[in-house]
């Protein structure tokens, strides 16, 4: 149950990026989560309203893209889908595989409302490091 701390960390990043772009609201947040990241998408979505309450991202839509578990076989070279607890090559059955996708825990994309008057400002050299860290 560490999804709330993951959410709080996410909100810190979102607020920093929104401040950098002088946004007045965060409309949409896109995450990419793989089952081998150790984070559960539904629990993250449950924790989000608690973490986001009172922030600039309070009304943002949280979209979570579930990433497939995919492996590359070091023995036969095949790429195949796998189960999180069975990362075997679907072609030759070897366990000598490398995970290609499935352990992502990424903030991929944000959609912000940026007022017209701030656009030129935000498009320039935005530097407010003390608010970002």
């Amino acid at each position: 149950m560490h999804e709330l701390s993951v959410c709080l960390s996410l909100l810190e990043q979102v607020q920093a990026i929104a401040a950098q772009h002088h946004a007045t609201a965060v409309e949409r947040i896109l995450l990419r989560i793989g089952p081998l990241s150790g984070v559960e998408a539904t629990l993250l979505a449950n924790a989000y309203p608690l973490a986001a309450a009172g922030t600039i991202a309070e009304h943002a839509v949280l979209d979570i893209e579930s990433m497939p578990v995919q492996v590359h076989c070091n023995d036969c070279g095949a790429d195949s889908q796998a189960e999180p607890n069975r990362l075997l090559c679907a072609d030759c059955g070897s366990w000598r595989t490398r995970l290609v996708s499935g352990d992502e825990m990424l903030l991929a994309n944000l959609e912000l409302t940026v007022p017209e008057t701030d656009r030129s400002h935000a498009d320039g050299e935005a530097t407010e490091p003390d608010r970002l860290l």
Binding site: M1, H2, S5, V6, S9, L10, E12, Q13, A16, I17, Q20, H21, A23, L30, L31, L36, S37, G38, V39, A41, T42, A45, N46, P49, V61, L62, I64, E65, S66, V71, P84, N85, R86, L87, L88, W95, R96, T97, R98, L99, D103, M105, L106, L107, A108, N109, L110, E111, L112, T113, V114, R119, A122, D123, E125, A126, T127, P129, L132, L133
Partner: protein, 302 residues
């Protein structure tokens, strides 16, 4: 964050400070910002900083993870006694409450710092950083970080350790690697503990446990031992000696060791470092529009 040593601006977050550039627009006029940043970015930066601390002092940091009661503290007690006079050891203990484990370790004559996490189910890099200020790293060869007993959450948080050790004790059952793949996949070494109980718990098959481990596409050592029975300790001590020697050689060559499997954030930081700056850590702007499954936030207060 540590604001005193200049570590707060890293290749990983530099783009946030120096970034800019034109916004792409979605159809309804919103600014679309591509980020591609690990969700635990602040933790990952702190972990990189911790690892630099360890390397500067030649310390090998090992993260011990298991379910509660698998025998982490007992293993440490036996290890401290066996390596007395040979290697200098210190321990950071993570538990929700009590100083019990730190007191057990101190009774064996080595420094121990207890982190009481309250209700937190894992240690994070900031907690470990705070604990480091209470240890003299110059007097240490091996630093064991005994994580909160939990087979789920600790696997997701980089502490700055060089190696992950996961314990599986016989009473837990031999299918734990299949049930908790994230944890066992993160291990650089898996220790099967309490093997003295195998005659009593004869439904536990060590070979089957190892097969479940291999199905996670990992070839890490699987060592079987019993602290109470004094069996299988020597190969574990040899592993520690070899890891420390290799660690010191790498430091001498200016290289850094990391656990074999790392959370996404750590990989992104590594990519940014390798590419010499912000290039590996893109902060691009483009039109939104991915095909993806939606997970809708539920109604609040439901």
């Amino acid at each position: 964050m540590c604001d005193t040593c200049g570590c707060n601006i890293t290749p990983g977050n530099e783009h946030l400070v120096t970034g800019g550039g034109a916004h792409a627009r979605t159809k309804d006029g919103r600014a679309a910002v591509e980020v591609m940043q690990g969700l635990l970015d602040a933790n990952d930066q702190q972990a990189v900083h911790n690892r630099q601390h360890f390397d500067a002092h030649g310390v090998l940091a090992l993260n011990l993870m298991s379910s509660p009661g698998a025998g982490k503290t007992s293993l440490l007690e036996a290890t401290i006694d066996a390596l007395a006079g040979e290697l200098r050891i210190a321990v950071i203990e993570g538990d929700l409450e009590t100083e019990n484990d730190a007191e057990r370790i101190r009774a064996h004559g080595v420094p121990a710092v207890q982190i009481a996490t309250g209700s937190a189910c894992h240690l994070d890099a900031h907690m470990v950083h705070d604990a480091l200020h209470r240890l003299d790293l110059d007097g240490i060869d091996l630093l064991f970080i005994e994580n909160v007993g939990n087979l789920v959450c600790p696997a997701s948080f980089d502490l700055g350790q060089h190696r992950n050790l996961t314990l599986l004790s016989v009473p837990e059952g031999d299918d734990k690697p299949a049930k908790y793949p994230v944890m066992f996949r993160a291990a650089d070494l898996v220790l099967l503990t309490k093997t003295d109980l195998l005659p009593l718990l004869d439904d536990f098959d060590p070979d089957r446990a190892e097969r479940f481990l291999r199905q996670l596409a990992t070839d890490v050592p699987f060592l079987r031992l019993s602290v109470r029975g004094g069996v299988g300790i020597a190969p574990w001590l040899d592993w520690l000696r070899a890891e420390l020697a290799e660690h010191r050689e790498r430091i001498a060559r200016g290289e850094q060791r990391r656990p074999a499997i790392q959370p996404d954030g750590a990989l992104l930081h590594e990519a940014a470092t390798k590419s010499g700056g912000i290039g590996g850590r893109g902060h691009h702007h483009h039109e939104a529009g991915y095909g993806h499954a939606h997970v809708h936030p539920p109604m609040q207060g439901g």
